[in-house]
Subunit: 500 residues, 2 copies
């Protein structure tokens, strides 16, 4: 090993240790730090993220990336290290182009904006938030200009969350979905709603946790390489393939919600647990959001909202939560596929969820392509809700204020949720070519074969391939929404008897 490579690996190790403690403190903050203990964590996070930033942006680090990128070093590297040098250098260069005082100002503004958003949401008062949202729009626009002066601003944003993705591709995908799925949704709306009164009840929290543990194991989560926690919003966090943590939230009045959060986060976690452990401390573990979301949604929706998924385990659900003994599986199945218009994205069903994302994507494009400003957004939001879902929010809290993403400037993030769903349609068809009918596999309790296929085709590769490369390898084609549209049409034809 060359001296320069050794030095680079020491640097990677150092960055990894800083990442470990950052994640560790974030995990603790979100799952168990008591109210009066936040200050200690914030002090430590601030101190060490400052130290990390100093190292990551030092001249010395820049020189190291220069040296590692020179042919005499670069050409001798294996593919994983090549990727790590390439991504690291790109990030270093991008960050170096941002003036330090501008960056500081943006971080400060973003912290303030997030705080104001919280208050504005509580008060359903968009006017309070509006000037801060405009600031975030302006800051992010300038930031992208610094980072990639020669590239379209919104494409740079998209690329940050899903490498190689651009709005030309998303336009094509989302417009086809809109065209096909809005009419499907309207047909469903003409059918009678399922009766869900039997789900009302008081569900013991400890039993819900027991069910979470059972379902996670069932779908393939390795308990020796993971932990379950509790937090306000469910999330997944990976220290490495050997320690992947999922959280959940529980309500005494709704056991179904936590069951699907379990399966969703379980999908994220199974991905992380399945990454080749040799990739630790390299860029090959930094998975794009779209591909990551494809796995959580594959488990949650493609598998979890299939009646066959439940056939081998529904008896166990009733054992752990006796209320379900009185609910026939068919009724449960109808309820977990209950399509209806709703204001809140995170509470939407599998079909209307797509519209919530398309709406946000169209608004982001309006901002960064057409120069629409913050003041115009609530009206735009409400019009689009009416166009897509046929309902109009009564206030901003159930409209434009509902998500935190924009408050800290995370534009370009939302589309990855729906990209994940689009990939899922493609993966499902590729999987059935290899393994045969998924309904049969699920009904026979052979979910381990599904997880093994996903491991082999997707998980173990980490981010060694871009999403486009993965789709080409696994599905033999470029990204397309047709499979997921076929899936939706077939599914709702069966459930609601709509002709597709």
């Amino acid at each position: 090993m060359s001296e320069k490579l050794e030095q680079f690996q020491r640097y990677l190790n150092q960055m990894e240790q800083y990442r470990q403690i950052g994640e560790q403190m974030a995990w603790d903050m979100q799952t168990q730090t008591p109210k009066k203990g936040y200050g200690y964590k914030i002090d430590a996070i601030t101190y060490f993220s400052g130290e990390k930033f100093k190292i990551a942006t030092s001249e010395e680090t820049g020189k190291m990336y220069e040296e590692m990128s020179a042919p005499e070093e670069y050409d001798a590297l294996n593919d994983v290290m090549k990727l790590t040098v390439r991504r690291g250098k790109r990030e270093y260069d991008r960050n170096k182009r941002i003036p330090a005082d501008f960056y500081e100002e943006m971080v400060r503004a973003s912290n303030i904006s997030s705080k104001v958003w919280e208050e504005a949401k509580q008060k359903a008062d968009y006017d309070l938030f509006c000037p801060h949202l405009q600031k975030m729009i302006d800051f992010r626009r300038r930031c992208m200009e610094y980072m990639e002066p020669d590239k379209d601003i919104y494409d740079t944003m998209l690329d940050m969350y899903e490498e190689g993705m651009d709005s030309a591709t998303i336009d094509r995908l989302f417009s086809q979905m809109k065209e096909e799925l809005v009419p499907l949704f309207q047909k469903i709306m003409e059918k009678p709603e399922p009766d869900n009164r039997c789900f009302a009840g008081d569900y013991d929290i400890n039993s819900q946790k027991e069910l979470e543990a059972y379902l996670l194991s069932y779908i393939g989560f390795d308990k020796e390489a993971g932990v379950m926690g509790e937090s306000e919003h469910p999330f997944t966090m990976a220290f490495g393939p050997g320690d992947v943590r999922v959280t959940n939230h529980f309500s005494r009045h709704d056991a179904v919600d936590a069951m699907f959060s379990t399966i969703h986060e379980g999908g994220h976690a199974i991905f992380e647990q399945g990454i080749n452990p040799d990739y630790v401390k390299t860029a090959a573990v930094d998975i794009g959001m779209g591909m990551h979301e494809s796995q959580s949604r594959f488990y949650e929706n493609i598998l979890g909202r299939n009646i066959n998924f439940w056939k081998p385990v529904y008896g166990k659900v009733g054992e752990i939560l006796p209320q379900f003994q009185k609910i026939p599986l068919e009724v449960f199945f109808r309820e977990i596929n209950h399509v209806r218009p709703s204001f809140i994205r995170t509470a939407a069903d599998e079909l209307t969820y797509c519209f919530h994302i398309i709406l946000r994507y169209e608004i982001e494009k309006a901002i960064f392509r057409d120069g629409v400003n913050a003041e115009e957004l609530p009206a735009l939001w409400n019009d689009k809700m009416e166009e897509l879902l046929g309902i109009r929010p009564q206030n901003a809290a159930e409209g434009i204020l509902q998500d935190m993403h924009w408050s800290d400037g995370s534009f370009g993030y939302f589309p990855t949720y729906l990209l994940g769903t689009i990939y899922d349609g493609m993966f499902l068809e590729a999987m059935e070519k290899d393994l045969g009918n998924v309904d049969t596999l699920l009904a026979e309790g052979r979910i381990a074969e599904i997880t093994a296929w996903l491991h082999e085709k997707i998980h173990r590769h980490g981010s060694m391939r871009t999403a486009a490369e993965t789709l080409r390898e696994v599905c033999g084609q470029e990204v397309t929404a047709e499979p997921i549209i076929r899936y939706f049409k077939k599914k709702y034809a069966e459930i609601y008897g709509v002709d597709a």
Copy 2:
């Protein structure tokens, strides 16, 4: 503020942040890290403790302590900062006298010794452990010689865990206890044993946790400034007065054990929560082990094993664990004060626990004063067990191998457990002078007044005073075993009808 003081406070802040992440990772490792995730934590702990050590032992830090100790800086400091400079400088000087290669060798030997001890304990094979124990004895002896070349070795060890304590004092205290309490124990042994068959049962773990939460709140633990966790051995950890964490361990077959671990760790935690928050990032939060143990034992034994403690809460115990509804309070009281000889220190009752500590103290003295070597220790241990408790271990696992302390060289630690008990006798008498009869306070559910007294007299001061100074302030006298001996005699006269 002088420039030098500012620099010193930056250093204290830096050290505090390293302490925070060290504690944070230790907490996670001991309460929830999954099996396959240990490696990440160990890597991070190793990396950052190395960095911290470099800073703490640098020439620059030494120079800073020199400057802060010079009259022109030192005299202008407040008492807390004076203490911090004094203790920090002493530690720096002590550590600087230890040759780096010797220190590394000792740390390595100590890690190996701890591992071998685990195996030896499992196999009940002292021969396996013996050479390692001898090494630890030799290493620690040399280490103390380096640290304090002009001081008695064993006194240096004692001082490390309880500042200012020495073996002349402990000799006086422990020999009096032995003289008075061994005959008391022998008298008790002539009395009939209480019948404890009614405690056999299957106790729900979640209910035991609910009881833990209830008891902690009852004794004054602030839930907004703390967390409850689970670990193999119960412990307390403080991030600061605003975040103090306790752990517990649970058995389905014994609910009493977890109840008393709760109260014990609760005592430690209430102490930490009560420290003046201005002392954070100073040496005034580093409390000596004896004084710390005095508080955990005050809650566990002086309060928790008093029948009056339970009068206001025993109904609630039966509500949470219905098995206790069939056990009269009087029977419960007899069982939690069930005196009997036993081999294992951590399972001993309040009275015989004293003998387990006296035995370890006498052996430590034999090693460091009389030069007894590791090969001779099992026989010495067994003889002393017979002398004090009238029983002889059948194997080393229930004898000399039972505790981990000596395996990593923690000699001088054990006596602090009994010092805590001795202080408790003194505190109880001082408290009753101020507040009146403790039985009455407990029976009337006025434990908050007891906690408030302990806060005022002890907790809030942190370690601004040595143990000796605290006893002088609070009890108006030097350390003495007489109050605790009076307490034991009175207690067992009432329970067992022995004449004391």
